[in-house]
Symmetry: D2
Subunit: 347 residues, 4 copies
Amino acid sequence: MLVVMQHNASSQEIRDVVDMIQEMGYEARPIPGRQRTSVGLIGNDGQIEPNFFQSLPGVLEVIPVSHSYKQVSREWKEENTVVSLPNGTQLGGRQIALMAGPCAVESEEQILGIARTLAGMGATILRGGAFKPRSSPYSFQGLGVEGLKLLAKARTETGMAIVTEALDAESADHVAEYADIIQVGARNMQNYALLRKVGQIGKPILLKRGLSATIEELLLAAEYVIAEGNPNVILCERGVRSFDTQTRNLLDLTAIPVVKSLSHLPIIADPSHGTGVRAKVTPMARAAVAAGADGLMVEVHPDPNRALSDGAQSLYPEQFQALMNQIRVIAQASDRELTPPLGRTGS
Amino acid sequence: MLVVMQHNASSQEIRDVVDMIQEMGYEARPIPGRQRTSVGLIGNDGQIEPNFFQSLPGVLEVIPVSHSYKQVSREWKEENTVVSLPNGTQLGGRQIALMAGPCAVESEEQILGIARTLAGMGATILRGGAFKPRSSPYSFQGLGVEGLKLLAKARTETGMAIVTEALDAESADHVAEYADIIQVGARNMQNYALLRKVGQIGKPILLKRGLSATIEELLLAAEYVIAEGNPNVILCERGVRSFDTQTRNLLDLTAIPVVKSLSHLPIIADPSHGTGVRAKVTPMARAAVAAGADGLMVEVHPDPNRALSDGAQSLYPEQFQALMNQIRVIAQASDRELTPPLGRTGS
Amino acid sequence: MLVVMQHNASSQEIRDVVDMIQEMGYEARPIPGRQRTSVGLIGNDGQIEPNFFQSLPGVLEVIPVSHSYKQVSREWKEENTVVSLPNGTQLGGRQIALMAGPCAVESEEQILGIARTLAGMGATILRGGAFKPRSSPYSFQGLGVEGLKLLAKARTETGMAIVTEALDAESADHVAEYADIIQVGARNMQNYALLRKVGQIGKPILLKRGLSATIEELLLAAEYVIAEGNPNVILCERGVRSFDTQTRNLLDLTAIPVVKSLSHLPIIADPSHGTGVRAKVTPMARAAVAAGADGLMVEVHPDPNRALSDGAQSLYPEQFQALMNQIRVIAQASDRELTPPLGRTGS
Amino acid sequence: MLVVMQHNASSQEIRDVVDMIQEMGYEARPIPGRQRTSVGLIGNDGQIEPNFFQSLPGVLEVIPVSHSYKQVSREWKEENTVVSLPNGTQLGGRQIALMAGPCAVESEEQILGIARTLAGMGATILRGGAFKPRSSPYSFQGLGVEGLKLLAKARTETGMAIVTEALDAESADHVAEYADIIQVGARNMQNYALLRKVGQIGKPILLKRGLSATIEELLLAAEYVIAEGNPNVILCERGVRSFDTQTRNLLDLTAIPVVKSLSHLPIIADPSHGTGVRAKVTPMARAAVAAGADGLMVEVHPDPNRALSDGAQSLYPEQFQALMNQIRVIAQASDRELTPPLGRTGS
């Protein structure tokens, strides 16, 4: 941390900053410049707030140098974290994993039908919401535990792994019972009670980036999970809020190489929520793979026009098939490949 | 809802849209234009997603006309909601309420001392965090229930009402036991489980706007609370995320008159989080009152340089006194006045 | 400038950074830390780009410490710049200046009529566009030189000073001939050819903040004007782009105290463009004065519903009168006052 | 355009809106709904401002239905515009065009050397700034006409086409004399005087998206050029402003499929400015091609660490070669191919 003094700061003001740093148990190193003096704080262990010094007399600004995340960083662990699922799918290695399925579980027929279709096309992870976070209290809120049971049935039939969202401590326990990956949604990225809870459960976590979360905040949210002893965190870029209303969100694909340089965790992209418009999902799914994503989460619905939620951004099954063919080619450009399809025996 | 067709949509495509609307139980009204036809959906009750029709063949775009919030709107209830606290303070009427106190409760000496000072200066509501949402898992997380007890003690001594934050269902029960207003923080604005929980508890709720929440989303979050039967919601503008790093957030004071025209709920401003820098708190607090805020939430600390959190944005007590004197004048310009100070008897 | 090395940077990599700094003619000062070494560059004169070192081997990040603006800064000149107009109005002193008038000059009757009304209400500067920047090539583009002549006529009649916008070198010469203040609009804030041109002309400049300009960029744009020898720059906050569509822009009033701490230049606010909605102009105008603005620019039209541009955000004359009465009270709270009305003789 | 009335609007207020629409020469069509009446304005020719009606008594909001751009739209012209350059390169067809070169022309040796290298690697368009828009007046501003002459010399030697930026009317004339494509930079996207000027010149225009321009505004800026009679406009996505400071801008690749659905114009991406960091350029260049870009503009410098501007985002020549190899594979996934290298004869 660098405390930059005003050009006319008195030597007493500089000394006060030095004293306060030392009093807090850190080392202070004054750095005289041509225009002004700065004071380096050495040994910052993440306990000090960046703006702690900002309002002291004579201080111009405070510049953080080290980051407050630790265990998620590449400096802490150099090699990639590879998250392995019971059905053999891996996230974070050379293979690219495909999560696909409807926005919400709606019925046994719907979820089993689409699971069979998707498994046949090569997807190995089934998505489908049982507990739905909806901006309006009057919208469809999901089938709850009943939906989880249907997902588990689809797993038994197809061998696909299951990813589905938890909204609070109670639903997290339910999800943990049935799913292979517990999803924490964008709106809950800084719901610290929930992050701690899923950190304690220990199953792989899919952590979606908040609507206006910086990458540093996303990494700090992951740090909450890891700090509870659960290292299996998969990050997910799903679009951030922007000023243009042409798409629902602005899919920030640069987040993929940025995360990969700062952290050892796997990161996937969700072009369905990231764009909100079916016709943009396929090009952006291709782009995400080209940018280096470790996987994709894509909404596919057997009959999107009758979906109970997010129909407008769901692909038709045949569009998903075409997408698979395209990204198989693109993966080669970066010397990667798609996860092989599940065996005929259903796992 | 208006479904705008492409200029070359076939009459069959238009008919399909009309059929689908009718099949859903609503009335469809085609509106031929010079360039293209639109189809109005009449009778939307908030169950239909704006983008439901967006991907149908021949559709150019879908324009929502009615809003999905109901009970929070001025159309639902024309006169202002006035939230009354046990100590007589009102929010939403002619008087402007002052909430002040430290970011976090740190010790009995700290909270009782500052409460006495603030009550003496005319503030009638004491703020202070007991459960703190922190972006890093390694930062100070608050004193918990112990902090709540200290706040209650300060209430007994000074007569101030208490506002403090709940993070999840469990802490909400604790907060409800000790506080007069339960705060839902910006990071939890779309934590629907928490919104439902505090809606059921029934005490007044202070609902902070999320970092990138639109005003419509803020109103929908309030709708969650009201839909559970709790009409006593106070909204709070506390700054949104922006591209400039000069301040921690961008305080969107225009939200105040916008909310007042759309909703009957009271709205206050938090210039401390809204700016993040002590020297900007006073001018922006003045501006919030001039813009029509029903109250202010301001961080004041007896010794900001030693605060365990957010010290850089906390006012010194004497700065708060100066602010009170300034806003007393400003309130007159809009024919309003500050809440009178608490009586000597402590309520 | 601080070049932060990776935690595992080799001593050779550190030496290379030091060598490159010295080769460029600056002083290099290595600062060993617990986690990593940083190298301070001392004597930065604004010629070095912040990201010059960013891609060198072993470099983690580069942190700018000094700013690239100079003459606009408070460190360069401590006392406020006060811009004085021929009719005695001052910007940057104790008095608050009122600029008012229609979006565009439409006819002699319109501009003379509204000028008389506004002068009678106490405004001392008349605004009105003659050259209009419009997002569509098919919208009304202003009366051009004819409009400037009408503005000059209104000045002769009322004594008001004139502010109007220039779009390029050619229109800048025309504007300079007729107006007292040359406006550079938000869309041209980084039109460096225009900034240089108006810097050479030497008349006071009203420089509007770009739609997504940081305050640092706004100050750098002003630096372009001052670097040409023209110190009379008035800055103007007029709203930045945001994600919420409730208002046309997000009026960033915190920019006022931020600019005042970084720079000696006067700053005013334009709540008409800043909100885009008539009903929000008055509360935000009040808020701007409360936040410390040195003046306001407000659109007022004799018949807003028939205005050729921006009618929806123009006040009725009687609303402007009411606003004047309110801000006269608010100004007192910060020990300021409105510019006194022009004398009966027309200056 | 749809004028939505308040739920309690009087029938007189509705009639006033109808009358005003008819008075303006358009057709008005009232649409009664369950909650409120709306009035459709039929025949909008782009002359009416969206917010013209917004402040009339009884009006709740005004919703634009048709767009103000015309000639740039797919509805105006269904097939893709293909811009052809003298050396045979095409933009907007099946082939993907590669523009590469240094940020700024620095010397004959630099520009000729890198041009030979890039032509040898298969790029067919050379970029290089002669007139540089710099945020600080004290930074290197380009070699001017001398730089243009060096670019022309590189064209003679290699056969590459030349693209370089114009800043105002004067430099546009110079650029038109030497270059094959005139670039209008992001900061000048709404400099309407410049857009008109380059529209009149008639050479192909590369129009970069402004830092916070919506796609609709980008298309309207292109409309300015086309309205002057110049149909050869190439759009360029180069990143928009965002809240995260990890990268210089947020590259909005979704703009590519969005533009392609709304307009017939070609669109390319500039991942160098779009990210600002060398290590992110290659993945995002790959992603842009996967998203459907008609070309790339990439900064390549023979010795990036000594570049006079933007060195940190410039690729080394060998990195560019590797990128070419990767995107050649990716293009196949969408049934496209790279522009074939220039013949040995230099055109």
